[in-house]
Symmetry: C2
Subunit: 245 residues, 2 copies
């Protein structure tokens, strides 16, 4: 039996996936499509984030985890609640009104937005009932509702956090090369980094651990693998009182 939903409170999920092959930070979106009953012409044809209403008996974090699980099958993914979108007119664009009439939902819904960080290859897109697709964060399709704003704010928050929290490792496999780490920073921050200085700097970090292992199956010189130790990070981490303003 379905739990009761809270009709005016929802959670929307920005799922960021890093694709190490294309070196691209992507967002997972689903299609929103509705056609006219008279002439079969599309009335609404764009993309949206996944989201759902909160149930009466669950926390907001649980709602977010549930939505992600349903979309990707994944648990224990890094998630961050970053902003509430509650403008009374946020679902009042032309297409959204058509859509709302069809779906019969409450247009004064506030949504609590989360973003998730994972690797694109962790998500199986085939046979997924939501039929989600990855889009590069810098090349998004037409988006419904206020979801363009939501993605932009999520991306801004991610960029900022990446500079002073070790969340980058959420976007990488457990074992990664320095090159991959650097590529990931470069895609997120949108700038180039000198590889010599980058290596030197990150090699001094005790929580980045050199493994006794190299890449296999590459067609050129295989590179050293590293891992991130959350335990070591949390032990070492005292708040640095450097004021960076």
């Amino acid at each position: 039996m379905m739990p009761l939903i809270i009709p005016n409170i929802s959670v929307d999920c920005v799922v960021f996936g890093f694709d190490a092959n294309t070196k691209s930070l992507n967002v997972l979106l689903i299609k929103r499509y509705l056609e006219s009953k008279e002439n079969n012409k599309p009335l609404v044809d764009d993309y949206v984030l996944t989201g759902y209403h909160t149930f009466e008996n669950e926390t907001i974090d649980e709602t977010a985890a549930r939505v992600l699980k349903e979309l990707t099958g994944l648990d224990n993914v890094y998630k961050k609640q970053f902003k509430v979108f509650g403008d009374p007119n946020r679902l009042m664009n032309e297409k959204d009104v058509i859509w709302a009439k069809n779906e019969n939902f409450n247009q004064r819904t506030i949504t609590i937005a989360y973003y998730f960080l994972l690797k694109t290859q962790e998500v199986t897109l085939e046979n997924n009932q939501h039929n989600p697709q990855w889009f590069p964060v810098n090349d998004l399709p037409e988006l419904g509702f206020d979801h363009k704003d939501i993605i932009n704010e999520a991306y801004a928050d991610l960029k900022e956090k990446a500079l002073y929290k070790p969340i980058i490792f959420e976007l990488l496999p457990d074992k990664f090369t320095f090159k991959e780490l650097q590529n990931t920073y470069e895609s997120i921050l949108g700038n180039e980094i000198d590889n010599r200085n980058f290596r030197r700097k990150l090699l001094t970090k005790k929580y980045i651990i050199e493994l006794d292992e190299k890449q296999v199956g590459v067609s050129k010189r295989p590179s050293q693998l590293f891992m991130f130790s959350k335990d070591v990070y949390q032990k070492i981490y005292k708040e640095t009182f450097l004021i960076h303003i």
Copy 2:
């Protein structure tokens, strides 16, 4: 005529005020009091944050600004929406249940929490119908609902932000001395700072402008006054791509 409220969505406001005299970071609280009709003994006697429900036709930010205005009379105060509290049991403590029965509100209310930054002396406490009081953030009284959690999370966020955004100036008067600036950092971060290094570092910042003015009415050597220029800050500010992890 009163606009319609949304019964299950509220905003709670953590009002931080810095008191330059006592060098204390304070929180503005209001009393929550209810006594038994039979024997006049207090049933509920503690403090809470101010908050109120969102109106049907306003944004969440407007709700927050409205609540602050009603409590303090102030507009244009720095505010930050920092977290949503939506646990289904968040209003289910013993005293909260008694209180809820009396006030007849929806116990599955989610609240969007904001904090505000201002100077204690800006708020007039006399003849204020809410009868608010300042309490040092490190020495809070007994708090109702989940408001202790809310304050702690607000404080954690403030500490973090103070390290890399110029929000400290929201807690200071327009004209301030270096000593006051240093005191403010010290109270927020909870550590001591070497005054020579602190001065040298902040003097290099173009957006901290030395005024042609000194303190007046002090009983010892008067000190130089400075101001913060938001304009200069925003012009200079490019994201530093230093990775501080």
